[in-house]
Symmetry: C2
Subunit: 313 residues, 2 copies
Amino acid sequence: MMNIGIDVGGMTIKSGIVDENCNIIETLIISTEVEKGFEKIAQNMVDMINNLVKKAKLTLNDIDTIGVGIPGVADEKGKIYFATNLYWVDVDLGKILRDNFPSQKIYVENDATVACVAEHSFGSIKGVKNAIMLTLGTGVGGGIIINGEKYSGSNGIGSEIGHMVINRGDNFYECSCGNNGCFETYCSALAIIKYAQKLVEDEEYSGKLKGIKKEDITAKLIFEGYEEKDDLCVKVVDRFIDNLSTGIANLINIFAPEFITLGGGVSNSYNLYIDELYKKVQEKIIFKKLPFARIVKAQLGNNAGIIGAAMLK
Amino acid sequence: MMNIGIDVGGMTIKSGIVDENCNIIETLIISTEVEKGFEKIAQNMVDMINNLVKKAKLTLNDIDTIGVGIPGVADEKGKIYFATNLYWVDVDLGKILRDNFPSQKIYVENDATVACVAEHSFGSIKGVKNAIMLTLGTGVGGGIIINGEKYSGSNGIGSEIGHMVINRGDNFYECSCGNNGCFETYCSALAIIKYAQKLVEDEEYSGKLKGIKKEDITAKLIFEGYEEKDDLCVKVVDRFIDNLSTGIANLINIFAPEFITLGGGVSNSYNLYIDELYKKVQEKIIFKKLPFARIVKAQLGNNAGIIGAAMLK
C-alpha cells in the first residue's frame, strides 16, 4: 500500500505518492490560488489527488492514507481553526476529503508537526523515542515525538512551542499571539531581522548592514556578518543564541528528550552557532552534570512536507 | 497481587501495602535519620519493607512491585543523582532494593511525578489521557501524563517544570538551579513568602504583616491577607497569579492537555485565585477562542505519596 502526502503552502500545493520505504514515486504541484478562497482550493486538492493517482497509473485502491500539512491549526478530525496566510478560518478540510475519499484514512496536521514526523521517519531523529523539533523560520514552529509517536495534545492543537514565553514583557515588539516575550520573538528569522533593523536604525554604526535598505536585511546577511565579526551582527546573533539556549534548556528540563532537531531557514547557519549554543544550554539546564539531549540539524529538504504528511497516522 | 508504595520525606519514610483497588491495607512509618547517611537509611527501608509485609500477615510472594517516591532525581533504574534535603548524591537505591527483593519489580521516581500518578490513578485527573500536575510547595514540582502514562523523559529526569524560565533575569533572587526567572521563583510557597518579606522590608506599610517577624510570614498568612484585601498581600498574590497564568499558558500551548491539576500547600487557597487565574490563562494562550485545559485542585492528601508510589510502572 502507498500513501499520499500533501504540503499546502501559501504559493503552491505539493502532492506526492509515497511508498512504504519513504520513496516518492510520483508528484504533482499546483498553485494555491489563495484569492479564490477555501472551497475552490479544497476542490483543486480533490482534483489534484485524483490526477496524481492517474499520473502514477494507480487507482485509489492502492492508497491507504491521505495526509495534509497546513500552515495553521487543525484538530484531530481535520477541521482547520485557522491558517492565517491562507485566510482560512473554521474550515472543514477533513470532512471534504473524507467525503471524496471515503476509503482512505484522512489526516490534517500543522506543518511543523509534519516536518517533525518526516525527520522522525527518515531524517535527523529517525526512530528516536523522544524528540523535539524546532522550525526556525518566519516563526518558531514546534513538533514533539513522545514514545516514538507524534504528540500534539488532546485536541491536536498543542506543540506551539514558539509561543512559550521565556522573557515576559522584555521584548521591543509584541508577538502576534498578544503576549510579549514569546520564544519566537527572539529566535525566528523574523525576530533576528527585526532586531537588526532596530539596531541599524538606533545606533551609530558603519558596518556591513549600513546603507542596506531595511526591508532588504535578511537572516542570511546577518549570519554572514556574524561570521565576519561585524559588531551589529554579532550582537544580534549573540542575543539569538542566548535566548535559543534558554528555550532549549526549558524543553530539556521538561521533556528530557534524546534529541532536539533544528529546522527552518535559520538552521542553515547551524555550524556557526552550535558550539556556543551547547555551552549555554549546559549552563542553563537543571542537571548540568548529566548527559542531555543532542542538538542536531534537520536533514530533509523540500520533500519533507510531502513525506511527513504521507507518514501521518 | 498487591504493591508496596514508599514515600521518602526529610522527616519520615512512610510505607504501605496497596491493593488493586488503590486501598491501603497496611502501613508502617519510620523516621528518616538523615544524619546517619544513605547506606543506613537504605537498610532501614529494606527492614521496613520486610516488617510491613509481616505486619500485614503476607509474604513477599504476594507483592508485585515496590515503588519509591523521593524528593530528588532518579533515573529509570533507580539510581538517584541527588536528593538535596537528604544529602544524597549518586546513590543506587534501585540496586539495593533489587538485590534484596529480586522477585519484585522496583521503581524509584521523583515525588512530584509520584503525586501525579496518584492523582491519575484515583484523584483529580483519574483516567485522563493527557494532564499536567504542578505541586506548588517549597518549590514547584511537575508531573506529566501523556497518553494515560506518566512521562518523565528518556532518562527519567524530565518533568522539571518548575525550572522553566518564564521571565529571564527579572526576579530579585536567583533560583537554586543557577538561572534567574524560573517558574518556581514566582509560584512556589517560598517565592510568595520571599516577595512578601521583601515588600514588608522595602515599603511604607502598616497592614496585616507589619510587626510579624520575617521568618514567621507564611503563605497561609499572605492568602488570608489577600482575602482581607491587605494591600501588600494583594500585591504579592496578584504577582503570583499573573506568573502562574504565564507558566500554565506555556504548558497549554505546548501540551494541550485536558487537565492541569494544582497540588502542594499553595493549592489550599485554590478557591481564592482560580477565577482570576482562568481569566488570565485564557488571555495568554495562543488559541483564545478554543476550549482549553480545565485547571483543577488535587484531591489527595497525605496518603498520595504511598499510593502513587505503589502505582508506578
